[in-house]
């Protein structure tokens, strides 16, 4: 039974006033974002404002008011970023094409060459709250300037001001000085040309038309919307570039470039093996321990239980780093013990196979308590009578476990095993903190490691020092997305079945 969603009977006026004020605020933010050349974010805030006004303004959406914040947060901060990541996969966003088009033009036109003939030292004279620039060589003094925003001040001949700032204090003002332009009486513009001097600066490029820049030496640059670069007539690219959509080019790179495809395939296989092996190992270990702990004759159960879940209680980022130290080749405790017992010093971080074994061992250590806790819960729901009956028939304990207990706990366990697979499929934290994906696979054009899983590989591609290849990372994310979507769907179906079984068969 549900409540009918009637609107409250109190006067709606105060509520409408608040809703109106918030909506107006959001609309102002949306407009502000739009004027700052962020139309996409502006549109999102606009949608948020509209949704807010409709749902909290109109009485008939009373019920929806309860879920609006949650749904809005999920849509804006999960759904939108995932979609946006996929969009980035179709662009050339990287350290070479980092800026927007407007910023690129700004960067290119603001570059300039200093004319050494006009260069002369300067000093700053305080004038109340403002400042004047004094050029001693030509005896010129500027009008007062605030040095807080870009400004242009005229220069006039004058005698030396009484007080001049110390050099140290003048350097403090360099932010304002860099945007300052001084105009002489014959119209020449002087700019800050270093810590100590002002000079006329000729821009390297000036905008001579839409999508067209002309260089100081007469070269003509045209904007190429295909590549996101300004190019000379000879086709040479002038960095920096801007972001443009490039269609399927990133995906073509993934599938056709040998140096990318081969490590990708190997990383994909390892990701699947890693996730499956982690689930299998933690499940087997966790279940075994749970069965032992459920044994009625065992004493000190509570103590064992607490100690056994300790690995799960310690924050993962700490225990992973602890293992990073323990496995250290030269002074890690694990190699010290192995050395004294067997004379072995395995190189855990430089040998691919050993590194993978280490990753699996650590992940089992981290993950078995979760499985154990779950298994203890599910084991309790297996009826004791079934086990007793089987034991009376003369079945061994092992046989009872495999024919009675296991078949009864697998169905409710299944969705959680799938979820655990999905979690490990993207277990970025483990790989990143333990090995960073190293050792590297030899002969690749992009950084790819033996222990890299798809998620850590993508992370390194985007955020490590390898050229911030956001576009390529976005493209690979779409591929991961497809795999995760398949897993999620499988999980969803499994959950549904489990729920149906529960409701269909009363306990």
């Amino acid at each position: 039974m549900s409540l009918t969603a009637d609107a409250p009977t109190a006067s709606p006026l105060p509520r409408l006033l608040v809703v109106g004020a918030v909506t107006l605020g959001l609309l102002a933010v949306a407009f502000y974002l739009y004027t700052l050349a962020q139309p996409l974010f502006g549109a999102i805030v606009l949608a948020l404002a509209t949704g807010f006004a409709v749902i909290y303004g109109a009485s008939r959406f009373y019920g929806t008011r309860f879920i609006f914040p949650g749904v809005a947060a999920v849509l804006i901060f999960i759904a939108f970023p995932v979609i946006y990541t996929i969009y980035i996969g179709f662009t050339n966003y990287s350290s070479f094409n980092l800026l927007s088009y407007e910023r690129t033009v700004e960067v290119l036109t603001s570059r300039g060459s200093i004319d050494p003939a006009t260069e002369e030292p300067f000093a700053v004279a305080p004038d109340g709250d403002a400042f004047r620039i004094w050029l001693p060589q030509s005896g010129l003094l500027s009008d007062p300037v605030t040095l807080t925003a870009p400004e242009t001040a005229a220069l006039t001949e004058s005698s030396e001001p009484d007080a001049l700032l110390e050099r140290r204090d003048a350097i403090q003002l360099r932010r304002g000085l860099q945007t300052l332009k001084l105009q002489t009486e014959d119209g020449a513009l002087l700019q800050n040309a270093g810590l100590r001097t002002f000079a006329t600066v000729t821009p390297d490029y000036t905008q001579t038309g839409p999508d067209e820049l002309t260089g100081a030496d007469g070269t003509l640059l045209t904007a190429d919307p295909e590549t996101g670069f300004f190019t000379t007539e000879a086709g040479e690219r002038v960095p920096p570039g801007w972001r443009v959509p490039i269609g399927w080019a990133n995906f073509e790179r993934v599938f056709t470039s040998e140096g990318i495809r081969e490590p990708m395939v190997s990383i994909f296989l390892w990701t699947v093996i890693f996730a499956a092996a982690s689930v299998a190992a933690t499940f087997a270990l966790g279940l075994t321990l749970a069965v032992i702990l459920q044994w009625p004759h065992l004493r000190f159960k509570a103590l064992y239980r607490i100690l056994l879940i300790l690995p799960y209680a310690v924050p993962a980022f700490i225990s992973i780093l602890v293992f990073r130290g323990l496995f250290n080749q030269n002074f890690g405790e694990i190699n010290l013990i192995l050395d004294s017992l067997f004379g072995l010093r395995p190189s855990w971080f430089t040998d691919g196979t050993l590194a993978r074994i280490m990753v699996l061992v650590v992940n089992t250590w981290l993950g078995y308590p979760y499985m154990m806790l779950l298994a203890m819960g599910f084991l309790q729901s297996v009826p004791e009578d079934h086990k007793k009956a089987a034991a009376l028939e003369g079945a061994s304990a092992l046989r009872v476990f495999f024919t009675i207990t296991l078949p009864q706990i697998i169905p409710p366990f299944l969705p959680l095993l799938i979820a655990s697979f999905a979690f490990n499929f993207n277990n970025l934290v483990l790989i990143f903190l333990l090995t960073r994906g190293l050792p590297d696979i030899p002969g690749t054009v992009i950084p790819a490691g033996e222990t890299d899983i798809l998620a850590s590989f993508t992370y390194r591609l985007a955020f490590d020092n390898a050229g911030q290849q956001f576009g390529l990372a976005g493209a690979i994310t779409l591929l991961i997305f497809l795999v995760v979507a398949a897993i999620s769907y499988a999980n969803f179906v499994a959950m549904r079945r489990a729920a149906q079984r529960r409701s269909g068969r009363p306990a």
């Binding site: 949650g70 999920v74 990541t85 323990l326 959950m495």
Partner: protein
């Protein structure tokens, strides 16, 4: 199980305890070693489990104080561990409070208020929740990089940006609390309705007080989840004084500067409170776990 001969039982007990004790020695070995290392001299020290020359150097440094060695040299703390802890706790507290509020209200609506398309919406939230945030990292970076040009308070390196992203992690908790609300007798809200309570009043005066136990579970789960988050925080937070514990701890063990001893002390100092909270709460967490909450 049913009737067992005493001798067999004794052997079985012996085997079970033997196995568990051996296993525990193996599993707890890292903790013992880390504790030992935090009292050893220097950052590369190897030695016995009980240090020969125990020193408090790493612990003093972890608390952010200068340490004067016996030979007079003064060592400065390498990283601001306490500041990182404070950042982590502050961000996680605010974010989990927000998540708790949003999740409880949404869960109530999903459980009790008749809404069109509710089933589809719930399924949608469930599917979205299974997509890990690692899939959105590139966009999260790009979005906050762009927003930072508008206002630095919402840009990279901002705690507010981090909290906003964390707030979106409500879906799982909505499911947990909804499950709890579903188990509450509908006679309660019918009675309230007959007395003329609006759905909001029913929620405020009947469901909210009843939900306190599950809300504390969700709060602890969310809090631990945020404390443990590495991917999002590492993408958004770049400067040392803004880092959370999870992002900062990594600095101790990089290729150029390997501060094993300092790390050990800092790890125990920062890990212990979280571990204790978890151990106290774990009895209540098991039910939440079977809803699919995998701790990160």
């Amino acid at each position: 199980m049913i009737v067992e001969r005493p001798r067999d039982l004794l052997i079985k007990k012996f085997l079970a305890h033997g196995f568990l004790i051996l296993f525990l020695i193996l599993i707890l070995f890292p903790f013992v070693v880390v504790l030992s290392i935090s009292f050893r001299e220097g950052n590369f020290a190897v030695g016995s489990i009980i240090p020969e020359n125990p020193t408090l150097e790493h612990w003093v440094l972890a608390f952010g104080r200068d340490f004067t060695r016996p030979d007079g040299t003064v060592v400065e703390p390498p990283y601001p561990v306490l500041l990182w802890m404070w950042n982590s706790i502050k961000i996680s507290l605010i974010a989990s409070t927000g998540v708790l509020a949003i999740a409880t209200i949404s869960a109530y609506a999903f459980s009790r208020i008749r809404l069109r398309g509710k089933g589809a919406l719930l399924d949608g939230l469930f599917l979205i929740q299974m997509f890990p945030t690692t899939l959105a990292l590139v966009a999260i970076y790009a979005i906050f990089d762009a927003l930072g040009e508008v206002t630095p308070t919402l840009g990279l390196n901002s705690h507010l940006a981090l909290i906003l992203i964390y707030l979106a992690g409500v879906t799982l908790h909505i499911w947990t609390i909804k499950g709890y609300f579903d188990s509450i007798d509908t006679a309660l809200d019918k009675a309230a309705e007959i007395d003329g309570a609006t759905p909001w009043q029913t929620f405020r005066h009947i469901f909210l007080p009843l939900a306190v136990p599950i809300m504390s579970v969700v709060f602890v789960l969310a809090f631990i989840g945020f404390i443990n988050d590495y991917p999002i925080a590492s993408v958004l937070i770049r400067s040392e004084d803004k880092m959370t514990l999870a992002v900062g701890s990594r600095l101790y063990l990089n290729e150029f500067q390997y501060l094993w001893g300092d790390f050990a002390a800092a790890a125990i100092l920062s890990g212990l409170p979280i571990t204790v909270v978890f151990l106290i709460a774990q009895r209540y967490l098991v039910s939440g776990l079977s809803d699919g909450a995998v701790k990160g």
